[in-house]
């Protein structure tokens, strides 16, 4: 049923429909509305779950780790510094193959402190062994959570659903919240693989000396690569069951005829689509490739979709300081070396710390790469605040 609802509340309701046994979280803006709503749902007796209010994100992640290892379906949510504080546990959860679902309400990283949106937080743990899915809007954010539990529990990989802080979490949009029965039909009960239980004593989290460690990383890497099939299957099962497309690996918009292709992920793709429509009216052929699954990275899909495209521009809300665009690096790596010579892949970083990305900014970007490729550029910088002596 379509409901005018805040993004955070939509996600909370859908997470509750997935019937997690244990929820643990620590408040951080802009994640708060998600966990407040879940606390209300549990408090009202609408969800039979343990809601553990902890003293830090570090413990929130540790609580869901323990709960998952004991056989519970477990959920947490965080943002920014909270995710960084969790990071040690985040790596453990993946290494221990615990199918936990986490919502990252994407936010900038200190210093300076900024509560506003970008994607530097989830990007900081991109190599931890989690599946990372990026939502375009609140419908997709909600839908991805239903898919996330199923993907996690089929692959024994944790799943992070990324949704842009404030832009999505605090936005009211119509969202189709499914019926409980629809979710129950789609998402089977959690069948854990290894648990701590006195009936079957076993050790979880033993240490591995150099004879054993490397294989665990290889297996985890391969499992992430293989999760590609599960992500695609679950996405198409979802489309069949709920009648709408959500998630998957990549999505495209007016790509076929496009002479310039913009690549991005998250909520900014809405603005990009708007620009594409405007430019189309003026006879310009611009298309979009949207990354939905950032990890595992859809290298083959990107290549197949773009193998005939010669002018590509990557727009991202994160940066590898001292290196440049992170998504741009992934995209450049998606093409065989021999093919790179005449293909232009430009890289723009934008929207850090909540800086608005306007349609004019995007138009400037597209027009610039139409003339010449851009190795790397910050979009929308306020030059008057920058002095050479500070660098």
């Amino acid at each position: 049923m379509l409901k005018q609802i805040e993004g955070s509340h939509a996600v909370a309701h859908v997470v509750a429909q997935c019937r997690p046994h244990v929820i643990s979280a620590y408040p951080i803006t802009p994640q708060t509305h998600i966990v407040e709503e879940l606390a209300d749902i549990v408090g009202a007796g609408q969800l039979d779950a343990e809601f553990v209010n902890v003293e830090s994100e570090f413990s929130a992640a540790s609580v869901v780790l323990g709960a998952s290892a004991a056989g519970a379906r477990a959920y947490t949510a965080t943002s920014s510094q909270g995710l960084l504080l969790m990071s040690e546990v985040i790596y453990c959860i993946a290494g221990m193959r615990l199918p936990i679902v986490l919502t990252c309400a994407n936010r900038a990283i200190s210093a300076p402190l900024s509560i506003w949106n970008d994607q530097q937080d989830s990007m900081a743990v991109r190599d931890a062994g989690w599946i990372q899915l990026h939502a375009e809007d609140n419908q997709e954010a909600s839908d991805l959570h239903i898919q996330a539990f199923k993907i996690a529990e089929q692959t024994f990989l944790p799943v992070m659903v990324c949704m842009d802080g404030f832009i999505l979490t605090h936005a009211f949009e119509p969202v189709d919240i499914p019926e409980q029965k629809e979710v129950d039909d789609f998402l089977p009960a959690f069948k854990p693989r290894h648990i701590v239980d006195p009936r079957w004593p076993r050790g979880i989290g033993l240490f591995a000396d150099p004879r054993f460690y490397m294989e665990t990383r290889y297996i985890l890497h391969r499992a992430l690569e293989k999760s590609e099939d599960t992500i695609k299957e679950v996405s198409s099962e979802f489309a069949k069951a709920f009648g709408r497309e959500s998630g998957g690996f990549i999505k495209t918009y007016k790509l076929e005829e496009a002479e310039v292709v913009v690549i991005s992920m998250g909520s900014v793709v809405g603005t990009i689509k708007e620009l594409i429509d405007q430019l189309e009216e003026k006879g310009k052929k611009v298309g979009l490739l949207q990354i939905c699954s950032y990890r595992p990275f859809p290298r083959k899909e990107v290549y197949n979709a773009l193998k005939d495209k010669m002018n590509i521009v990557v727009l991202e809300k994160c940066i590898s300081l001292g290196r440049g665009g992170i998504l741009a690096s992934d995209i450049r790596w998606s093409f065989p070396r021999a093919e790179k010579k005449d293909r232009n892949i430009s890289s723009f970083v934008a929207g850090l710390g909540g800086r608005n990305i306007s349609i004019d900014d995007l138009r400037y970007m597209v027009e610039k790469v139409e003339k010449e490729p851009v190795e790397f550029e910050f979009l929308g910088l306020r030059e008057e605040l920058i002095a050479e002596k500070d660098m």
Binding site: H21, E55, G66, A70, P201, G203
Partner: protein
Amino acid sequence: MREQSKYLEGVDKKDLFASGHRACGGCGQALAARLVADAAGENTIACVATGCLEVFSSPYPDPSWRIPFLHSLFENAAAVASGVDAAYKALKKGPVNIIAQGGDGSTADIGFQSISGMLERGHNVLYICYDNEAYMNTGVQRSSFTPYGARTTTTPTGNTTRKKNMPMLAADHGIPYVATATVDDFRDLQVKIRKALTIEGPKYVHILAPCPLGWGHHGELTVEICRLAKDTGLFPVYEIIDGKVTNVRKIPVKVPVEEYLKPQGRFKHLFKKGVPSKEVDEIQEIANQNIERFNL
């Protein structure tokens, strides 16, 4: 005595923490871990912090645990145990004994916040601190449990601060049961574990576990060193039930701290040519204060 026997019914040497692990000879922690596992019995889940115990007992593929064992990090054993507790409640499983275990570093320092959270939230978890008074797993560095005067690799001229009083800090969370114990008195230690496990809610048991390597004493002296720690007054043994200190172990014959310090290499620098330095007086003062405070 009769009350103690009641708690020990059914406890015997089952080796739920099996031999063949890789602890040093005379390791107080290995001995304590076995006593704890046997006292707790099969229906127990051990959530263990990174540290000596974890390293010497859980190498893949041959761990020493015959009860379920869960380890992830150094500072989160109490939070992981909280998660296991929450899962058991949510899944309506149990009852089960959930025991979080760590050394003094993971208890008093890096894991302090996580333990405080677990105690404050009221989880049905027993936390056990194996106190060997320094970071032994990484090579004997100072922790906030390192006693005054002790030499470690990061306090080469002797530690200048007094030991953090963790049992009192735990008790001030308003939890129902706190106890201290040592590895020389098996019976007392196991009674306290059993007693703790009969109580619903968070429990804290602090066990003095000498480390021959870090303390610089012969392995066969582990038990004797514990006795001296108690009889000097340096390690008071007591329980705190619902906030009240009780069942304090009385010292039969008071022993000067010198007798505790001299067999240990970590205090050797306090006796130049056999003459005690002024630090020894300070340590005697600490013992005297304990004797007065707890009426030992």
